[in-house]
């Protein structure tokens, strides 16, 4: 049984780019996807900034009102059941399958599975329930269920791509994507599947995002240049984003046998919960610390081996503080480990976060740089001793880590390592 899974394909539909090249370029140069954004036509609403995905328009709940970039052909029978984030996911999967060089028979083989992360579509749910309620629940749209509930990605994408292996969805708020990756690695390690498509997606709209403002979790900073600044003393909440990111994971032997090239190998993962609060993370980051330790043990590495950590760091006052403390409890003050929070550039993708940032981590090996913290001006003193560079750093990393935390105090950490030279992407 393999101990790692090779990442052989990536797909990006994000606020900082719709292609791997654009995403890598903007991460390297610290170019953010945050803009002034009108969520609901209410000028009094305090949330003024978001990170939309360019080129996609969902101007109503009916797919006939939607548009997406040329080059992605979504058949009628597929688009009818999709929510907006399903369109993002479709496009990201198409990109990743092409990137990995997979053929139709590879995708439809029972050795290939599909794990999805999505919170569903509150937007579609809201529209369809409103329509249903208007008829006293007598008459509703036939696609209302499959286009809105939390399994919407797995229902639609498994049918479209004719997946015959394992199919499941993960719902653990902001750790959903990371859970999908972790359990996908397990499927490959256990020999149950040879290849896993992992997709995570989220919508950007009032229905998905503004309930977080009711929790006081969103930034009310009106300036895209300074809203979302992980680890800064003036951080005031997260900035939402939408999109979809895909990883293709394969048993390394299979990937090499078919001549595929790998960005990285996922060599371990760990999870641990805080046992503390429904929304706020443990004040010392206890669960996240344990998740990192478990991931390191699983990957057979020491924390001192880690070249880079992509922090969860959503830019909330409490969350970044607990993560900084968890990191400081495991990283020596003089360690070379670089830490950055890329949500300063992308915004926070909720269910998508873990997969988006795992994909960023995968790019560090082939693109030879570690993302920086370009919006960090005054680091919070709680970060003392952490290496938080402002600019990205040219590097040839061997081991990187990806942290994710979600509601209920759930924490997931992945370890990625440089791929075996036998099949590394140059």
């Amino acid at each position: 049984m393999p101990s790692t899974a090779a990442i052989t394909g990536l797909g990006f539909i994000t606020s900082i780019g719709l292609t791997k090249a654009e995403v890598a370029n903007r991460l390297r140069h610290g170019q953010s996807g945050l803009v002034e954004f009108d969520f609901c036509g209410n000028p009094r609403h305090p949330v003024k900034v978001a990170a939309p995905v360019p080129g996609f328009y969902f101007d109503g709940p009916n797919w006939r009102e939607w548009s997406w970039p040329a080059g992605y052909e979504i058949p009628r029978e597929t688009v009818r059941g999709l929510p907006p984030h399903g369109v993002y996911a479709f496009c990201a999967i198409e990109q990743a399958l092409a990137d990995a060089g997979l053929r139709l028979e590879d995708i439809t083989s029972s050795d290939t599975g599909l794990f999805c992360a999505s919170a569903g579509s509150p937007y579609m749910m809201w529209h369809h329930l409103e329509e249903l309620a208007a008829s006293q629940y007598e008459r509703g749209h036939p696609l209302s269920v499959v286009s809105s509930i939390a399994g919407t990605l797995n229902f639609n994408l498994a049918a479209h791509f004719r997946i015959t292996g394992a199919v499941a969805g993960f719902v653990s708020a902001c750790t959903s994507g990371s859970h999908a990756i972790g359990y996908a690695l397990d499927e490959i390690r256990l020999g149950r599947q040879q290849r896993m498509i992992v997709v995570a997606a989220e919508e950007l709209n009032a229905q998905t995002d503004l309930p977080f403002a009711a929790m006081r979790a969103l930034s009310t900073n009106p300036d895209p240049a300074t809203a979302s600044r992980p680890f800064d003393v003036e951080r005031d909440g997260f900035v939402p984003t939408g999109g979809a990111v895909v990883l293709i994971l394969e048993a390394p032997e299979l990937a090499q046998a078919r001549g595929a090239k790998a960005y990285a190998e996922i060599s371990g993962w760990g999870q641990a919960a805080d046992g503390y609060n429904v929304a706020t993370s443990h004040p010392e980051g206890l669960g996240l610390r344990n998740a990192m330790l478990r991931a390191a043990k699983d990957a057979g590495i020491a924390m001192s081996d880690v070249d880079y950590i992509n922090a969860h760091a959503t830019s909330t006052p409490a969350g970044d503080r607990s993560e900084a403390l968890a990191l400081r409890s495991l990283i020596a003050p003089d360690a070379r480990t670089i830490v950055s929070g890329t949500k300063g550039l992308t915004g926070h993708g909720l269910s998508m976060a873990g997969v988006m940032e795992a994909a960023f981590c995968a790019l560090t090996f082939s693109e030879k740089f570690l993302p920086g913290n370009p919006k960090l001006v005054n680091p919070d003193p709680v970060c003392k001793g952490l290496n938080l560079p402002k600019e990205s750093i040219a590097a040839d990393p061997r081991i990187v880590m990806n942290n994710t935390s979600g509601f209920g105090g759930s924490n997931v950490c992945h370890v990625l390592r440089a791929p075996s030279p036998a099949f590394a992407r140059s």
């Binding site: 036509g41 360019p54 328009y57 101007d59 006939r64 009628r76 029978e77």
Partner: protein, 127 residues
């Protein structure tokens, strides 16, 4: 660091269910509403059927749908596509169509006749 500017998402206009249909279909719909002309109704129903055909089935666009074409066996409809077509027609003509009624409809011709009879049975004010 620089922040690229992206236009905010434009405000939505009221949704027109026939908005993306050919002008001839829109005109036929208006004509049916004004005159209850059965041939105009057929034009609308056939356009709706064609619109709900899954894209994987390629239909010649320059030929009318044959009356004997079976929705499922020939045109590739599944139960959801039939439900969607019914839902759309219900909205367009302000009628309710029951499962018992639609389950009897198998071909394009049967659907055409069914909608004609259904609408003809309504009081004039409901058209």
């Amino acid at each position: 660091m620089s922040t690229p500017s992206v236009s905010p998402i434009p405000r939505r206009a009221p949704f027109d269910p026939l908005g993306k249909f050919p002008e001839g279909v829109k005109a036929a719909y208006t004509k049916y509403l004004q005159t209850a002309d059965a041939a105009a109704l057929d034009t609308v129903v056939l356009a709706v059927v064609r619109d709900y055909v899954p894209k994987t089935v390629v239909l010649p666009t320059d030929q009318p749908l044959p009356d004997n074409a079976r929705l499922i066996a020939d045109l590739g409809f599944d139960s959801l596509a039939i439900s969607e077509t019914v839902f759309f027609l219900e909205d367009l003509f302000k009628v309710r169509i029951t499962n018992a009624e639609i389950i009897k409809v198998r071909t394009v011709g049967e659907l055409r006749s069914f909608v004609r009879a259904k609408l003809a049975s309504l009081p004039a004010r409901k058209r």
